[in-house]
Assembly symmetry: C2
Homo-oligomer: 746 residues x 2
Amino acid sequence: MVNRWKLTAELISFNRKELIMFRILLLCGFLAASLLGGEHPNLILKQSDLKSISLEKDKYPLFAQTLAAMKKDVDAEVQKPPDVPQPKDAAGYTHETHKKNYTVMYKAGILYAIYKDETYAKYIKDMLLKYAALYPTLGKHPAAASSSPGRLFWQSLNEANWLFYTSQAYDCIYNYLSAADRKLVEDNVLRKIAEFFVEEREEEFNLIHNHGTWSCAAVGIAGMVLNDKEYVEKALYGTKKNKTGGFLRQLDLLISPDGFYTEGAYYARYAMLPFYAFAEALENYDKSLKIFTYREEILKKYFYTTMQQTTGSGDFLPINDAIKFKNIQSPEIAFALNVVYHRYGQDKSLLEIAKKQNTVIINGSGLDVAKSLAAAKTLPMFKYNSGWYSDGAEGNEGGLGILRENDYSNTDIIAVLKATAHGLSHGHYDKLSLSYFDQGKEVIQDYASARFINVDPKWGGRYLPENKSYAMQSIAHNTVIVDEKSHYEGKIAIAEKYHPEQFIFDISNPEVKVMSAKDSTAYRGVKFHRTVALVSDKSIKKPIIIDVFRVVSDKEHQYDMPFYYMGHVINTDFTYTAFDKERKTLGKSAGYQHLWKEAEGNAGSNGYQFSWLQGERFYTITGAGDSTMKCIFTRIGATDPKFNLRNEAGLMMRKTAKEFTFANTIEAHGSFDGVREYTSGVYGEVNTVTVISSDNNYSVVKITGKTSLNWILIINNGAKSVKQKHTLTVDNKEYQWNGDYYLIKK
Amino acid sequence: MVNRWKLTAELISFNRKELIMFRILLLCGFLAASLLGGEHPNLILKQSDLKSISLEKDKYPLFAQTLAAMKKDVDAEVQKPPDVPQPKDAAGYTHETHKKNYTVMYKAGILYAIYKDETYAKYIKDMLLKYAALYPTLGKHPAAASSSPGRLFWQSLNEANWLFYTSQAYDCIYNYLSAADRKLVEDNVLRKIAEFFVEEREEEFNLIHNHGTWSCAAVGIAGMVLNDKEYVEKALYGTKKNKTGGFLRQLDLLISPDGFYTEGAYYARYAMLPFYAFAEALENYDKSLKIFTYREEILKKYFYTTMQQTTGSGDFLPINDAIKFKNIQSPEIAFALNVVYHRYGQDKSLLEIAKKQNTVIINGSGLDVAKSLAAAKTLPMFKYNSGWYSDGAEGNEGGLGILRENDYSNTDIIAVLKATAHGLSHGHYDKLSLSYFDQGKEVIQDYASARFINVDPKWGGRYLPENKSYAMQSIAHNTVIVDEKSHYEGKIAIAEKYHPEQFIFDISNPEVKVMSAKDSTAYRGVKFHRTVALVSDKSIKKPIIIDVFRVVSDKEHQYDMPFYYMGHVINTDFTYTAFDKERKTLGKSAGYQHLWKEAEGNAGSNGYQFSWLQGERFYTITGAGDSTMKCIFTRIGATDPKFNLRNEAGLMMRKTAKEFTFANTIEAHGSFDGVREYTSGVYGEVNTVTVISSDNNYSVVKITGKTSLNWILIINNGAKSVKQKHTLTVDNKEYQWNGDYYLIKK
């Protein structure tokens, strides 16, 4: 497999023919570019855009209102003298001020380009000259804690953001500035930061990671406005200009052929801005690069696959180090959507999302979207659907499986099986974990990251210590944990070498959608096979999840299988002891130290049942088990003296065995209408879940319900056999079928 | 004071003259009524309404859509055979079915009256005949646990609901039924239930309580359709017909002259339907009663005062046994709003609320609202404002104080001081507790009740045991608890005798709004005086709450003062020991057994500071204290083996002293925008809060801020002195002012 974190291996996969081709592309490109050299602005906002904008800026409500909001913001700021403080903190006043400065300059630049009002230009000029005075005096940022410090900011990532936006502002006022001022700004700031990235931060610049993408986009865009093709080349092909790093290499390696960005949707969103902004500027700078068709339109796939990783409230499906607040309204997504709309044939189903975003880019693409939205009589729905998104540069490193209750609907049930590769430095140690959404809400959650971004008293706004000690650990996820140790011993060096394998993905029958994956790498000598089926039936209003997690080893182990349900406990069918007068931690390490043990019981001979209320619906897990299985109520938040963790709950099943198959159904049922005080369907339909048999050939799981429901699910545990015929006798009856699973409804 | 729970005292206050007047009213009324006797329907939906409805039912969107939704619901139901099960459970299938039955009959009756489609009439007839067969066979409900059992339902309250709705359905199909069927239905069901209330449940019927209101409305409305004036008279004046009970007595005693309903907004909402529905039917039955002008338009005041007790999300301010889901969209409020609009001069500012409710009554009032809404070009805003709402039949039993940051705005800060009387059987033991809302959310919460209404596995949907052991106890509220015992020893018999006294309520200066109340009854030998000021200033974006709670005794006591903040801990300025590996309960009784002790520290010599994040804003409490004051982090949920409580957190200050003045500021500051990853103002403005002095004459509290803020608040602790001149020297400077408080901004 390709190791995308360390770069050593990449050189090999970059062959001579490609190199020559890129050199030719370079020559053509820069020849074309130099002809346009003198025109400003000419990056994302272009001279040609300005003509249509001046004619049409008030015609389309979304454009007009975005521009008016921008003007209102900036007009308030340009009254004040530019404030360029000495850098000090990581999330406090100086950090926020430098962030604000580049945002205001960027917007003021656009406004100057459109309105020609010199107030904006002068404000940018004055601020840039202050930066020109300050920047050369700076060393390493005093609050730098990361391995990649900046000068204006504690981490160089923010420095890249600064260069990215400021270069665009500079482009807008280029012709306003005197040659002397341009020289000052270019020499003392823009080139200094660009140089800082390609020299001092060379390793990060060449990194195949969102930090690298930001560095390249920033230096590349700066290169364009500085009319310095050296920077543009390095941004495209890495500092060695041989495609061992750089923008194109990132497009090759960070995104799978299915458009899955390896860190997950939260960072996919973050990297989307530099990817799309640099592409948009490049397309203008050098059309011959054909960046939007590069790698079979990889940028387009990247966008659409990221959109599929959202819930009904527009939030991104949280895996790895995600922060849960981000959603499709985030500005990065709005930016990319505008470009996608403009560059890839005006997909009208994007307009309903653009409407929710309620903002557009102030350039030709944004004008395009606003114009279409103003003209649209009805907005076709965006198609959210079920899908498997392979991970890995070559698409062969597992992937993310998503089953949706209904196509187009994003507020109905969504089941997510995480069978991806590790996901770089922000990856979590959870293979084959399940999360489950309904009503547009989390119902069985992935904790995601422990971080209060930009909140200074919370560890300077950085990832909290509990991110590593809890959130990244396997026990923070809905998967099997063996012997209270995390997958891959919680070590990135090991985790990056491996990934699960997809086994089943079949959505051909809308009544029975099935996904499964296998893993034999998370623990030495232990094999996982998890199957998640979403099954509809006329006897039930909402489809039922059947979740079968087979674990095999030749040694005895303790297997823990938690479900982090969201909501309030309603009912259990097993007895338990509540530790409700004195409470202790569940364990000592691997994240277990962060869980309170709230109660403990044993499953009955027919298994266990547990229900909870989340929002306006009830949910029930019914599982197979026996009286040797422990059912443990946990709550997050132990060993957390600074109250950094969210205190959410879980129910965990624990079984000691050589091999064991956890089989559960997850039902969504009834309704709870607090406003009208009307409740129905408090009890689910499923009575029992039984594992009839489970061996290296097949798992056979039987589900019986209160009324007519009587199902058997057979899963092939052998080799992949999509078209092979299987025969198996269950309960004295012989069944025959083709493929890797068979659902019998009696 | 008037004891509204026991009725014995009331007889005295009902004089002979009134009695004669009422007898005359009775005579006139029933004479008029008898002339109309034969017309059906003639209760809330009247013959005269039907004419306009048939002409205009499709003209106004809200009316048309409400009717269409009703039709859709009912059309689905009338396909099925009527299901009248043997009563069995308290929140399960039989309970929900009998509830559904009256709702469907009620709606089907309306539809029959409008569309003359006999499908509806036949459905009601068939169902009523089934009830006529079942009802006479029933004894006490098998799941009855309350002291007021019904027959169809576990509590007679639901039985009243059934009679109330079914009488209206019966009215609509009266002329459709044969005389024999009418006799069956009247004799076997309607009269039987009416009789059950006036005979068997006589005590409850005469009770001054929402149960009584429901009983009276149900029996009264049944009396009208049965053409039996005896029932109507008893409903109006009590079973003895001397106004010792009954509807008018309830209007006299349950609602204060300011329109405050003594149980609080949740039950105000609940009682609003029978109050308004009976009034609406009465107005039609006997105009001479002038029910809508009765007691200086008490019904109008009741409605508007209840509307003032809402937050920005439309939820009711939760005090006592409230359930937090209820809001202005609840059907009872929609019903009352329609009647208020129709009867009290078409207040156009109600229309924006009607729009949110998205439903109207299907009668003349509803048609009125829908028509106005269709005609309105703009909707004037409803005026939410600051106010003091006296409690008690005579308005002299304390009250509820509400300070709002801005008039009209309900999403800005709202501070609530609960200084009411006990609030009948659903009252909680918390005098002078404070709650605080912002962004339309709870920021410092009142726990309200512990109940999952209608959720069978949660104690049959009834109030949970933890309602009494925790939610009702003083420690569940933001007030002072002395020696770990609840106010009034947690005994209703004592609590009902007393109430706090309002001391200050002054909103004349929009920059400094102040309310305060005193209590010397919650504990023998301990006096409370709490002052809450909402202070704006040009140096701060949002006003600051100054909360001064003076406690005086001549013996030493332990004083606990909790704040149940909602959200996530951000920062503290004091050191503490976290019990994050082993956790115990805070106490043994009076609700303390339900709190986990999460951490404990000591205030510094300058007091303490604590901040948290709720939604998109930060909040900080800064308080006066010294190193002998404990600061204890608590979490609700100990001694709760069935997971019945919500696991929310509090910070509690503990001080042992004879007299002590808790002085705190509560600030709302900054913003946290997760979608845009932008954070500002993480730290508040206030540096320190100091009690310069506090004695029986004055409390003097000094507040200093980071920049220009430097305030002194002086509160008069002596007798009320609105116009008296005070002189006091503070920090060697003499201050002079008139009235009970003085805020000096230096």
